[in-house]
């Protein structure tokens, strides 16, 4: 009995020694954690971007977020990434009326441009269902018509990946791969998305800085867009598309649906989130910056061209009780419509599309 006990104790001691000697494969503590703070730079006319206190931006966090954004590891069959519907060359949309997911099933709505998305603080998605980029980044992975995956499996894949554990360590200071979570992945993606800011080199921005001049047509359009008077009609644009972001981030019904009753909208939009009838058929106002690259337009991509969009607003759209009161038939001539379009195209910012910091890091 005595001998048996002694053997057992010896075995335990030996096992304990073995455990102590064997390195923990998930241990990341030997990797340097020295994050470098990232300072957001934006055109001087832009508002201050608010960064969540629990997700300060770092170069390492942005680098990780950029990799995750472009990596199909987030989809169930490893064929699609965030960037599949938000392409840099299309101002981070995909030029489709609605976007298909990994199973080829079309979603309900058009992919929104991510240009300046870090400044949007009154809800994200067309219906505002996510309050922050961190919340938003979690949803497409498990959406059945988008990436159709599960975060549990994504996180397991990230833990086993040859590079990501080190990247998470560098970005967030985790000590072990076991600490990788979907929340950290979402934080990294949000950090990258907050860097997607206008270059400030659009013609409009250069005119604002007195580095360029509008043509006569652009100037006429500018006057109508902002209702600067001078004998031109008010095109009522700036109420919802005010400078500098050219969106007020409000939710409005712009009269595109030919229905009578507020419960008849084919897509309830904001109303499905707030459960208030008055919000039915309302959608978030998108930015007009880089409109030249983001066709087709509206939440369902129904308008293929900017001319179709302008024709809709000039017509005043269809009437419903909650249609925005500023959308009514406008008395603009064809020439004035052309001038308005010329001004809107001064918001084109090709430098944003080619910024090396926004491109696929795996190319």
């Amino acid at each position: 009995m005595m001998r048996t006990s002694a053997s057992a104790i010896l075995l335990l001691i030996l096992l304990s020694q073995c455990t102590k000697d064997r390195p923990d494969p998930g241990d990341l503590s030997s990797i340097t954690y020295q994050p470098h703070a990232y300072q957001v730079t934006a055109p001087v006319t832009f508002p201050q971007m608010e960064i969540p206190a629990d997700n300060p931006m770092t170069e390492e966090g942005i680098d990780l977020g950029r990799r995750l954004f472009f990596d199909p590891i987030l989809s169930a069959d490893s064929t699609m990434a965030c960037a599949s519907c938000h392409l840099p060359q299309s101002s981070f949309t995909d030029n489709l009326p609605v976007s298909p997911g990994i199973d080829g099933i079309n979603g309900r709505r058009s992919a929104m441009s991510l240009l300046n998305v870090g400044f949007y603080n009154r809800g994200l998605f067309w219906d505002g269902r996510s309050a922050s980029l961190e919340e938003q980044a979690l949803l497409p992975v498990e959406d059945q018509v988008e990436l159709h995956h599960s975060w549990t499996r994504v996180v397991e894949d990230l833990k086993r990946h040859p590079d990501y554990p080190e990247k998470f360590r560098e970005a967030f200071g985790i000590k072990n791969t076991s600490e990788i979570t979907k929340e950290l992945a979402a934080k990294a993606i949000a950090q990258f998305e907050r860097t997607l800011i206008s270059s400030g080199n659009s013609k409009f921005d250069r005119v604002q800085r007195q580095e360029a001049f509008f043509t006569d047509e652009e100037l006429n359009g500018y006057i109508m867009f902002f209702d600067r008077g001078s004998g031109f009609p008010d095109a009522e644009c700036a109420h919802c598309h005010n400078a500098p972001l050219f969106t007020t981030n409000e939710y409005i019904n712009n009269g595109i649906e030919d229905i009578q009753d507020l419960t008849d909208f084919p897509d309830m939009g904001r109303g499905a989130i707030t459960a208030k009838t008055i919000d039915n058929g309302r959608f978030r106002v998108p930015t007009l910056r880089n409109l030249a690259f983001t066709a087709p337009y509206m939440h369902d991509g129904r308008f293929k061209t900017l001319d179709e969009v302008l024709d809709h607003y000039l017509s005043g759209g269809h009437n419903q009780l909650n249609k925005d009161a500023l959308i009514y038939p406008l008395k603009l001539s064809e020439e004035q419509k052309s001038d308005l379009k010329a001004f809107i195209l001064t918001l084109t910012d090709p430098d944003f599309l080619t910024n090396p910091a926004y491109q696929n890091p795996f190319d």
Partner: protein, 251 residues
């Protein structure tokens, strides 16, 4: 002797602690009505002519909110607040509940006046939304009008049946702004702030008065959309009516 000094000092310190005034809080509860009825968006009301009218948006800035204490001292409560009646007027229940703004840490005591500005004073109005973080009410891009170089002080929007046929055939949009339209409003009422309960003051805004105040009514069909600084007469009428439309009840 040394111990006595220490005890004296301790006593003075404790006395100092006891002198800290008690703090209470005040809630301004903004409610919207049309005449005597609670204002609910997209619900029909009757104009003085008997035509139907509905509202789709109502909001305004107040600024330089203050109380006057019994001894005449002024206590500043907040530089700017945004009163978003649209957000609380989607149902009768929400409308009755009102839009609440609470000011904490007010020295308990008796006050005799509540005052605030309607709109923004010229100093603040010289700034722009981009000057503020998004949590500040002055960051609202939707409430800045570049053509004026001014914040939009108030928005009142809706639809009107101009012909009396029951068809809401005309949208109206009245936005006010610019330095000249900044107005001061105050009410002299006894206000008791105490540490045990929040004091509430209901501030009601009668939208019938905003549009149809006797002797100062708007002719909506003649000018249904106004955000034009060249038509100051109309927007001056609206902002003056808005001041008249306020009524206060201490609860």
């Amino acid at each position: 002797m040394k111990y006595l000094s220490v005890l004296l000092l301790l006593g003075i310190t404790l006395l100092g602690c006891n002198k800290d005034p008690e703090k209470g809080s005040l809630t301004l509860d903004f409610t919207a009505t049309y005449g005597d009825e609670a204002l609910v968006l997209l619900q029909s009301y009757l104009t003085p002519e008997g035509h139907q009218i509905q509202f789709s948006k109502s909001d305004f800035y107040i600024s330089n909110v203050y109380l006057i204490a019994e001894n005449g001292d002024r206590l500043d409560l907040s530089p700017v607040e945004f009163v978003d009646l649209t957000s609380v007027s989607t149902s009768a229940a929400d409308a009755a509940n009102g839009f609440k703004i609470t000011f904490p840490d007010i020295e308990a005591g008796k006050y005799t006046r509540l005052g605030f500005g309607i709109g923004l004073d010229p100093t603040v109005n010289a700034t722009q939304p981009a000057d503020y973080p998004s949590s500040n009410p002055l960051s609202l891009e939707s409430h800045y009008w570049t053509a004026w170089g001014s914040y939009i002080f108030s928005k009142t929007e809706g639809f009107l049946d101009t012909l009396g046929t029951g068809n809401l055939d005309l949208g109206f949009v009245f936005h006010t702004g610019m330095d000249d339209l900044y107005r001061q409003a105050y009410v002299d009422v006894p206000i008791n702030i105490n540490a045990t309960a929040t004091t509430s003051i209901q501030v009601n805004i009668d939208h019938e008065t905003i549009l149809f105040k006797a002797g100062n009514a708007l002719d909506i069909p003649a000018s249904p959309v106004n955000h034009n600084p060249n038509n100051l007469g109309l927007i001056t009428k609206i902002i003056d009516n808005l001041v008249s439309a306020l009524s206060v009840q201490v609860q």
